[in-house]
């Protein structure tokens, strides 16, 4: 069956039933987190921007921060019929777009912090990260297929890989 695509914007978070392709365009330091349950045939994607909400007020989008997005997306998966031991995760993104030797600018390494926090939160919930393509200095566009459960990662000048 043909898969329709849904494109997620910054800080969006969505859980869907197969067959739907989940897409996020042009991730830089942001993370594309995918969680899926092949038995229940559901999958979720979050476009995470920052590691830690630091108790920021509740009006913010839940998908924006790793510490709020991970528990929320897992909860949403469970609500839609997944069981926790079957949920697996894939992660892409978290690049450092610019490096400035000698400059003290904490925000330039936010990509690595996004990866670390996302993995930490997943581990805390007992969810295994099956595959990841993170770090480096190039942006990524990702597509997750709910027919073969593969994450296609496109990087400028490096072509396409499937993880």
């Amino acid at each position: 069956m043909a898969e329709n695509s849904i494109v997620l914007g910054m800080a969006d978070l969505l859980v869907v039933s197969a067959p739907i392709k989940l897409v996020t365009l042009g991730l830089g330091s942001c993370i594309g987190l995918v969680v899926y349950d092949t038995f229940a045939k559901i999958a979720g994607m979050a476009h995470i921007m920052l590691p830690d909400s630091r108790g920021l007020r509740g009006s913010e989008k839940v998908g924006k921060f790793a510490d709020t997005a991970v528990p929320f997306i897992v909860e949403e998966m469970l609500r839609k019929g997944a069981t926790r031991p079957r949920i697996k995760a894939k992660i892409a993104g978290g690049a450092q777009m610019f490096s400035l030797p000698g400059a003290s600018a904490e925000f330039l390494t936010v990509g690595a912090k996004n990866v670390a926090e996302t993995k930490k939160r997943l581990a805390r919930l007992g969810i295994a990260v099956i595959a990841s393509d993170t770090g480096g200095n190039k942006g990524r566009t990702i597509e997750f297929s709910t027919s073969n459960w593969m994450l296609k990662v496109k990087t400028l000048g490096k072509g396409v890989s499937e993880i």
Partner: protein, 212 residues
Amino acid sequence: MADLTAFSDNQLDAIREVGNIGTGNAATALSSLLSCMIHMNVPTTELVSIYELAEHYGDPLQTVGAVFVRSSGSFQCSLIFIQPEQDALKLVELLLNHQFGSFIPYSELPPEITDSALSEVGNIVLSSFLNAINMLLGTQHQISVPGVAHDMLSSILDVVASIYGQLGETALLVNTELSVEGLDDGRRISGHIILIPDPDSLNLLLEKLKVI
């Protein structure tokens, strides 16, 4: 930090004027570097949703060439000189032609040369921009080594989201466009300078401009 959405039109105008002075200086520097006419538009101060930064500037997937610097000192900020990829390469070709008499088309230049030249143009444009601002404010600053990237617009602008995202959902940007005109082949090379004041520096800016 000041609540961005509560900024008055007067305050936004004052910040825009800072951009105006910076841009004038940057245009002059670029003009003498290339011996070309540089056209500048009137800068704008923009409050942009951090979720729609890329869309605000164009096609999120468009490939761009960008030079990024950090300025530390009393007025802390980041600056990006961002161009469509073709324009960035064309600018490098023009610079090498003008400064060294090179006739190598940009498509044949090795990437290391292109990046090095681009980072130098970006450095000159952004330092001139900053110098004028610091002169106006009476502040001292130190500018970082420039960083260069060629990538999707959306990926590049993640850096803005990571500066403003921790504080809310809106970014304050001073945006201006420079273009090189009167080229032999009738083409126009354009580039945007985006000033991203650190949220903590906004109050200082308004204080110095005497528009609290």
